[in-house]
Amino acid sequence: MTATWIAVLATAAGCYALKLAGLTVPQRILADARMRRFAELVPVALLAALSAVQTVTNGQAFDLDPARLAGLGAAVVALVLRAPFLAVIVVAAATAAILRATGIS
C-alpha cells in the first residue's frame, strides 16, 4: 500500500469518526441550557460563515467575483420576497450563470 493510500484511508476514517462522535455524544450533556443553546447556535454560526467565505474568498485571498456576488444578492431578494427554497437557489445560480454567459462580469 502506498503512502497516498494511507493518507486517503486515514482521512476517510478520521472524518467518519468525527461525524459519528457528534451523533453518539450522550444527550444528557445537552441538559445544560448553555450547552443546548450552543448546539442550536452552532449551525447558524457555521453556515453563515460558510456562506460568506464561499461567496467572497478563494483560498486565503478575498475574491469579489461580480457574478457570484450578484447571485447571492438575487438570493437575498428572493428570500425577502418569501420565495420557496428551490426557487432561491435557482434564482441565485441563474443570475450568476446569465451574467457570466453574457460577459457582463
Binding site: 476517510a12 472524518c15 467518519y16 451523533l23 452552532v42 457555521l46 453556515l47 453563515a48 467565505v53 464561499q54
Partner: protein
C-alpha cells in the same frame, strides 16, 4: 413520487408544530424531499471539481472515489488534495483534512437531538452528517419532515457527489465548468436560505451569524483554508454563554416538541 410523499407527510397540525420558530409562512407546506433532492443535485455536481482536482494533484481515480465514498465531506476532501497538489506532506494534509471534519461533530450534537438516531442506525447515519444535510434537516418544522429531509438530501447528494467525482476524475471537467452554470453560488445561497427563518426571528441568532461571518472573514488570510469557518463556532459559544436561557429558542427539545405537537403520539419515536 417524492413530492407526494412530502405532501402526505405533513403533520395534521402543520406548520405550528415547529422545529423552527415560526419561520415558515403558514401558506408554505414543508417540502423536505423535494428540497433535499434539489440541493443534492445542485451541490453534488461540484463533485466534478473535486474529482478533477484530485487527479491533477496526483491521486488515482480510485483514490478520489474512495475519498468521496468514505470521507464524504467536501471541505476535508479538497483540503487533502490541495496539500498534496501543493507538494505538502501527506501527514500535514491528512491532519488538516481531519481537523476540518470537526465541524461535522458539532452538527452531530444538534442533529442527534432532532433525529434521535438509535443504536446501530447511527453507523450509517453518521456518514450523512455534513453541511447540506444539517442545514436542510434543521430548517424543517417537525421531526418527521426533518428525518425525510435528512434522508433525501443524503441519498441524492451522496449518489450525485460520487458519480460526479468519478466523472471529474475521468476528465468530465473539461466539458464545462460548474461555474458556468452558477453552481458555485448554490452552496452560499442554500445555506443562507436555510438559516434565514432563524435570522429573521432571533436577535441572538442574527448577532451570532454576524459575529461568525466577521470572525471567519477576518481570519481568512492568516489561517489555513477551512479553519476560519470552524472558528465561527466561538460566536455560537459566546451567544450561548451570553443568552443561555432562550426558552423561546428555535428548533429545540423533544419536550417542547411534544407540547407543540400533541398529535404526535410519541415524540421520542417520531424519528
Amino acid at each position: 413520487m417524492p413530492t407526494q410523499q412530502a405532501e402526505s407527510a405533513r403533520p395534521p397540525n402543520g406548520e405550528s408544530a415547529g422545529l423552527g420558530r415560526g419561520g415558515r409562512p403558514a401558506d408554505r407546506p414543508p417540502r423536505p424531499v423535494r428540497d433535499g433532492i434539489g440541493l443534492g443535485l445542485a451541490v453534488g455536481i461540484s463533485g466534478v471539481a473535486f474529482g478533477a482536482a484530485a487527479v491533477s494533484s496526483g491521486l488515482t481515480v480510485w483514490q478520489a472515489c474512495v475519498l468521496s465514498m468514505l470521507a464524504f465531506t467536501g471541505a476535508s476532501q479538497f483540503a487533502l488534495v490541495g496539500v498534496i497538489a501543493g507538494g505538502g506532506s501527506l501527514l500535514a494534509g491528512t491532519a488538516g483534512a481531519i481537523l476540518l471534519g470537526s465541524r461535522n461533530t458539532l452538527y452531530g450534537l444538534r442533529l442527534a437531538e432532532v433525529l434521535r438516531p438509535r443504536g446501530l442506525f447511527r453507523v450509517p447515519a453518521a456518514l450523512a452528517v455534513i453541511d447540506e444535510t444539517t442545514a436542510i434537516t434543521l430548517a424543517q418544522p417537525d421531526p418527521a419532515a426533518a428525518k425525510k429531509a435528512f434522508t433525501a438530501t443524503f441519498w441524492c447528494l451522496y449518489v450525485t457527489w460520487n458519480l460526479a467525482t468519478l466523472g471529474g476524475a475521468l476528465g468530465a471537467g473539461r466539458i464545462g465548468s460548474p461555474q458556468a452554470f452558477g453552481l458555485d453560488v448554490v452552496g452560499p445561497a442554500a445555506f443562507l436560505a436555510l438559516i434565514w427563518p432563524r435570522l429573521k426571528t432571533g436577535r441572538t441568532e442574527r448577532l451570532v451569524a454576524l459575529a461568525g461571518v466577521a470572525l471567519a472573514l477576518a481570519t481568512t488570510s492568516v489561517l489555513p483554508v477551512g479553519v476560519p469557518v470552524i472558528l465561527a463556532a466561538t460566536a455560537a459559544l459566546a451567544g450561548a454563554l451570553a443568552a443561555p436561557g432562550a426558552q423561546d429558542s428555535p428548533a429545540s427539545a423533544s419536550s417542547r416538541r411534544a407540547a407543540a405537537a400533541p398529535n404526535d403520539s410519541s415524540p421520542g419515536d417520531a424519528i
